[in-house]
């Protein structure tokens, strides 16, 4: 108990906890839209591109003689991630079939570019480790404020425009036919994903960023039937695993980012295993629609089974 108090009053830990909390809430919000759009891997693609941004920021910082040299790494990541997400969205729009191909090319280009540029900047690939796997213990007060601002922006747009973003993610064709600014809304989702990646970079690292956006949503959709609740459950799960994982690393020397992601996947496994049991206990949602049959059935057999109808429609 006193250990817990010690942790909460530790200024390093306080900053890290605030960052983890904010990232835990906002990453699943954006992730819900990505899963809805079947773009679960978008976060990974942006993460890889952000690595090039980190290295580019480093290179520029070194060239300008800034101290420390990586002071521009995070701004570089934000710029590269936003540019990358916009690029993916444009490619997705132009030729729908080549969307995953474009994503794959971004994966490779992002990592290769990052390693190449960091070498030019006078660093080694080892310098990138903190960005690849997170470095939440080194969060500064300025980092916390940046996190607060970006997470606030993500939540304001992600929740404030939920109905419109849902419409576009759910059925883009209908959204177009309703005259919605579909292009701008798609861009909004892409940019939100980019911002989330750069914010979560500190907590779990670029390689695991996407897990924080996607795994909580996978848990949420197991236990709910609605979009709103999926988002809610995902955010709660995100906060719980982020804060729990980080707290454990206060006592045990393991990588916070990896632990958070492993925890999330463990929760998913447990929920998925328990789901059939829980579903049975819930009041039954009759899967058979309460409508008359297509075919004439003798009254004696007039249960409500209408197999033909369910199968063909």
């Amino acid at each position: 108990m006193s250990g817990l108090w010690e942790m909460v009053t530790d200024p390093f830990m306080q900053r890290a906890l605030v960052a983890a909390l904010l990232v835990g809430v906002s990453a699943p919000v954006v992730g819900t839209y990505l899963v809805q759009k079947r773009l679960a891997l978008l976060g990974d693609g942006i993460g890889h591109v952000a690595l090039t941004g980190v290295a580019l920021g480093w290179l520029v910082g070194a060239a300008m003689g800034l101290v420390p040299a990586d002071v521009l790494a995070v701004p570089g990541a934000v710029v590269a991630a936003v540019a990358g997400s916009v690029l993916i969205e444009v490619v997705r729009r132009r030729g729908r079939t080549s969307g995953d191909l474009a994503l794959a090319i971004l994966f490779y280009g992002g990592i290769a570019g990052g390693v190449l540029l960091i070498g030019l900047a006078g660093g080694s690939s080892g310098s990138l480790m903190a960005y690849l796997f997170g470095s939440i213990s080194s969060v500064t007060l300025a980092d916390v404020w940046v996190t607060v601002a970006l997470c606030g922006l993500i939540l304001i747009i992600g929740l404030g425009l939920r109905a419109a973003l849902f419409s576009v993610s759910h059925d883009e064709e209908f959204a177009v036919s309703a005259g919605l600014p579909v292009w701008a809304l798609n861009m909004a989702v892409a940019v939100l994903a980019a911002l989330t990646v750069t914010v979560a970079m500190r907590v779990v690292g670029l390689l695991l960023v996407s897990a924080l956006m996607i795994v909580p949503v996978a848990i949420g959709q197991l236990v709910t039937r609605s979009f709103r609740r999926t988002m809610l459950v995902a955010s709660v799960v995100g906060v719980v695993v982020c804060v729990t994982g980080l707290s454990i690393t206060y006592w045990h020397n393991v990588s916070p980012g990896a632990l958070i992601v492993v925890l999330a996947i463990a929760v998913y496994a447990v929920v998925a295993a328990l789901h059939p049991v829980l579903a049975r206990r819930r009041p039954p949602a009759d899967p058979h629609p309460d409508i008359p049959d297509d075919v004439a059935v003798a009254p004696a057999g007039a249960g409500r089974a209408a197999p033909q109808e369910e199968c063909t429609t």
Partner: protein, 290 residues
């Protein structure tokens, strides 16, 4: 939102088109290419207010392409489309247009309830947030298609016919004056077809303008005033409903008359096993919904 459909004539049976000169849909010489192939080759189509027009044609004749072009989903490579007198774009009063796309069987990654899907129909043009009182609008729209008791069901829990009716409710929730439907009864079970015909009858009586893509007139035959037949991307017939080719007389059901009001729905005895959604009193529906 403007008040809608109140100024439309509600003459029973065949409502005369209001002659303020501006048709609901006016397409002139529309060409559409998808990839290299010309799908539409100079289509002219006018739908006046209050008209019920069926768009017929074989598979691949361009029916879906035409309606998707009319609502702005596909860009026309040549020609012009005006809705309510406005060229496609931001000037179109989108609140007055309701579009029911063909049902896609693929379920999206995140579950969504029928109510959530219908609510998304309340957004249009620059309205990006749900208006006040959206819950009651959604409930009314679901009630209109006989699914008030399914509001909180995930759409993937519904049957195909019910999913189709959710899409219709999504188009109706903003109270449009023009309804554009793409094969609303394709692959839909008979009860949903009947519920659909009953809903359409009521809407048309209230002055709704309808453009509907169909394979056969079926249950809608008594409502349809004009048929436009496409073949190879061109209009080959525009006028009275054509007689079906021999062997295609699919609409010759023995009970084709649409039902004047849902409460007086008469089903053929041989299919009646349980009470349909229309026959349940509203209050019990609400209880079920809660």
């Amino acid at each position: 939102m403007t008040s809608l459909a109140t100024d439309s004539p509600s003459g029973a049976g065949t409502p005369p088109p209001p002659d303020d000169g501006v048709p609901a849909i006016e397409a002139r010489d529309v060409h559409v290419r998808l990839g290299a192939s010309p799908v539409l080759r100079g289509v002219d189509l006018t739908v006046r207010r209050g008209e019920v027009v069926a768009l017929l044609g074989a598979n691949g004749s361009g029916k879906s392409t035409l309606v998707r072009t009319l609502v702005g989903v596909l860009p026309a490579t040549a020609g012009s489309v005006h809705l309510f007198g406005h060229a496609l774009g931001n000037d179109v009063p989108w609140a007055r247009v309701g579009y029911v796309p063909q049902r896609v069987s693929a379920v999206a990654g995140v579950p969504s309830t029928a109510a959530e899907v219908v609510a998304s129909g309340l957004l249009h043009g620059r309205r990006l947030r749900l208006p006040r009182g959206w819950r009651s609008s959604v409930r009314e729209a679901l009630d209109l298609v006989g699914l008030a008791d399914r509001a909180r069901y995930a759409t993937h829990q519904l049957s195909g016919g019910q999913q189709q009716r959710v899409l219709i409710a999504r188009a109706l929730v903003r109270r449009p004056e023009l309804l554009v439907l793409d094969e609303p009864v394709a692959g839909v079970d008979r009860p949903s077809q009947e519920a659909f015909a009953a809903t359409m009858t009521r809407l048309v009586a209230d002055g709704m303008t309808v453009l509907v893509v169909l394979h056969e007139l079926g249950e809608l035959a008594p409502l349809v005033q004009r048929c436009v037949v496409l073949r190879h991307g061109k209009v080959v017939h525009d006028g009275a409903p054509p007689t079906p080719r021999p062997g295609h007389g699919g609409e010759a059901h023995e009970h084709v008359h649409p039902h004047a009001h849902p409460r007086t729905v008469q089903r053929p005895e041989d299919v009646r096993l349980a009470d349909g959604p229309f026959e349940r009193p509203d209050d019990t529906e609400d209880e079920v919904a809660r």
